[in-house]
């Protein structure tokens, strides 16, 4: 690693025409982390590099979550067999442009990626019984055409509202666009009451896309079973708590809930799922 380089690559060989999937932590329903963890496990990836945290994260101590000390991580994993690289990373807290360029330096010079993808969850007001959609934003027209055959919603119009900031995925797409690297951010609307826990159906939706697009040959039955189990749990809570059932029925009928009811529904479901998991 030279002095200006913020990353280390220790993979045993370089890749050609690989694909990169980026999953950020602290995402809605932890979707990015869930997807990249699932893919890593299924494909038996190995760690091939990392971005050093020093310039990008406050290192004045560690945070503790669920009794465990945390530390920011930005690690690259690889399945040589599938020609796939995965970056699992916390979102940097400073020097974002340099961080994203470091990601792309690894992608371009060591993995010779042909395309990259980011994953993100969007908070949705729909019920969990609504089939999950997959939306895609591309950074180059060619990438948009490539995604045309996968039944994604590719027509999103969006402008950051005042007082909010763009996502790190959008920032990465822009940096990649400036470097001529085709990239797409994938978004799944997640029912708001699952945002604090997990949404297996959303995870399945994204994995299914990657399976088809990157010819990964993954058997998705375990995700089908996990999604069915989550739905059963949600059915149980609806059965046990008429108020929850009534709120979800309203959402299923496109009737908006008050803020108070929405907060209560999210809290009840989060607590119940945590209790029985």
């Amino acid at each position: 690693m030279d002095e200006t380089q913020a990353f280390k690559v220790y993979g045993k060989k370089e890749l050609q025409n690989s694909s990169l999937i980026v999953g950020w932590s602290e995402d809605a329903a932890n979707l990015g982390t869930k997807v990249v963890d699932y893919l890593s496990k299924k494909l038996g990836t190995e760690e091939i590099g990392e971005i050093e945290p020093m310039d990008f994260f406050p290192l004045g101590g560690v945070s503790v979550e669920n009794d465990i000390a945390q530390f920011p991580e930005s690690k690259f994993y690889c399945s040589y067999e599938k020609n796939l690289v995965i970056l699992k990373s916390n979102a940097p807290r400073a020097e974002w442009h340099r961080f994203l360029n470091s990601v792309l330096d690894v992608a371009e010079h060591y993995c010779h990626v042909k395309e990259l993808y980011t994953i993100g969850g969007m908070v949705s007001l729909s019920a969990h019984t609504t089939p999950r959609e997959l939306l895609a934003v591309s950074n180059l027209p060619g990438m948009k055409n490539v995604l045309g055959q996968y039944h994604l919603d590719r027509g999103m119009d969006y402008e950051t509202p005042p007082g909010q900031r763009p996502t790190l995925s959008s920032f990465l797409l822009w940096v990649a666009k400036n470097r001529g690297i085709p990239a797409a951010s994938l978004w799944v609307p997640i029912p708001f009451y699952l945002v604090a826990t997990e949404d297996v159906a959303a995870c399945r939706k994204v994995v299914d896309f990657f399976d088809k697009r990157l010819s990964l040959g993954i058997d998705l039955r375990d995700l089908d079973d996990a999604a069915a189990r989550q739905n059963e749990k949600l059915a149980e809570i609806r059965f046990s708590f008429p108020e929850v059932d009534s709120h979800i029925k309203n959402l299923e009928s496109n009737v908006a809930l008050s803020q108070e009811d929405s907060e209560k529904l999210a809290k009840d479901i989060e607590e119940y799922l945590k209790r029985i998991n």
Binding site: L135, K144, M156, D157, P166
Partner: protein, 303 residues
């Protein structure tokens, strides 16, 4: 990380006036108003991506079209005698979550701004910000001025409605200017460039609200225009001040009566070194300021 310059005007005895957002946006409103009223032309900018997180993304029909960053722009205006160079920073560079710049990024930005100032021959830089003070919002805000060299003290003393730190009771000439409006003074000092920060007073009880305070910007503008020897029609921000006054009055009306009662006493408090008998006793003043401090739990400060 760099500077992009669009034009290379020859400037006569140029002075730079710079500002970034801060409490009440007092400095930035003043500098932006001056720049706009004089019809200053765009000169260049500091490339944003190494300093800032984007502020806006534009997606059309599923394609990311553009990303916008906070701007840090330079402008110039030929006035005939003392030409002006303006710098207006839309945000202070920060390491995530902080309002004021500090550390490496702030130092880098201060140096880039001064690189441009010196490239065009500026020997003097003004920055502008806010001074949080125990004053009432109906009072005419004073301006606190901090130069970066002793030789400027006598000049600053000639500015109307302006105080040095040593004029403020109990401070002994000490203080702190947070963020780039302050840091630029230090970096200029290191380079041997004269600099003065002029800070308009904002009432202590308004500092925590996200409201602009153009009344203080006007005080700053009065000082800046006099110091620079230029004239502008300050009545043109009267409407803005009126609008802000009305917002503040509405807010003030919502304060609990016991707090309002205390704050109303600020109309009679002077914290500057007394030059004439005050309308209330020293003991009264001490008690009022202590009571208000208890409500707002803040020390008077500058940005």
């Amino acid at each position: 990380m760099g500077i992009v310059i669009y034009k290379e005007p020859e400037l006569e005895n140029p002075v730079m006036v710079a500002s970034w957002p801060g409490i009440g946006n007092i400095g930035i409103i003043a500098v932006d108003t001056l720049k706009n009223m004089l019809g200053a032309e765009e000169l260049g900018e500091i490339e944003p991506w190494d300093f800032f997180y984007p502020k806006k993304v534009l997606i059309r029909n599923g394609e990311l079209k553009d990303v916008e960053f906070p701007t840090s722009k330079f402008y110039f205006k030929r006035t005939g005698e003392t030409d002006l160079l303006f710098f207006v920073g839309e945000e202070q560079p920060s390491d995530g979550g902080r309002t004021y710049a500090e550390g490496k990024k702030a130092y880098q930005m201060a140096n880039l701004v001064l690189d441009v100032a010196q490239k065009f021959g500026c020997k003097r830089v003004y920055t502008s910000g806010a001074a949080v003070a125990p004053i009432h919002h109906t009072a005419r805000p004073k301006v606190w001025a901090v130069p970066n060299t002793k030789s400027l003290i006598s000049e600053v003393k000639t500015y109307e409605n302006t105080m040095l730190m040593s004029d403020i009771e109990g401070r002994g000439g000490q203080g702190n200017i947070t963020g780039l409006n302050g840091l630029l003074l230090g970096v200029a000092r290191k380079r041997g460039v004269e600099a003065i920060c002029v800070m308009g007073e904002i009432p202590v009880y308004l500092q925590g609200f996200p409201l602009p305070y153009p009344r203080a910007s006007k005080s700053v503008l009065e000082v800046l225009t006099a110091a620079l020897g230029i004239e502008i029609d300050l009545d043109r921000i009267a409407g803005f001040i009126e609008q802000s006054d009305s917002q503040i009055e509405q807010l003030y009306e919502k304060f609990p009566p016991e707090i309002k009662e205390q704050l109303d006493k600020l109309k009679f408090v002077s914290y500057a070194q007394p030059t004439e008998p005050a309308p209330i006793t020293e003991e009264d003043k001490k008690r009022i300021l202590e009571d208000i401090d208890k409500f707002f739990k803040k020390e008077p400060k500058e940005d």
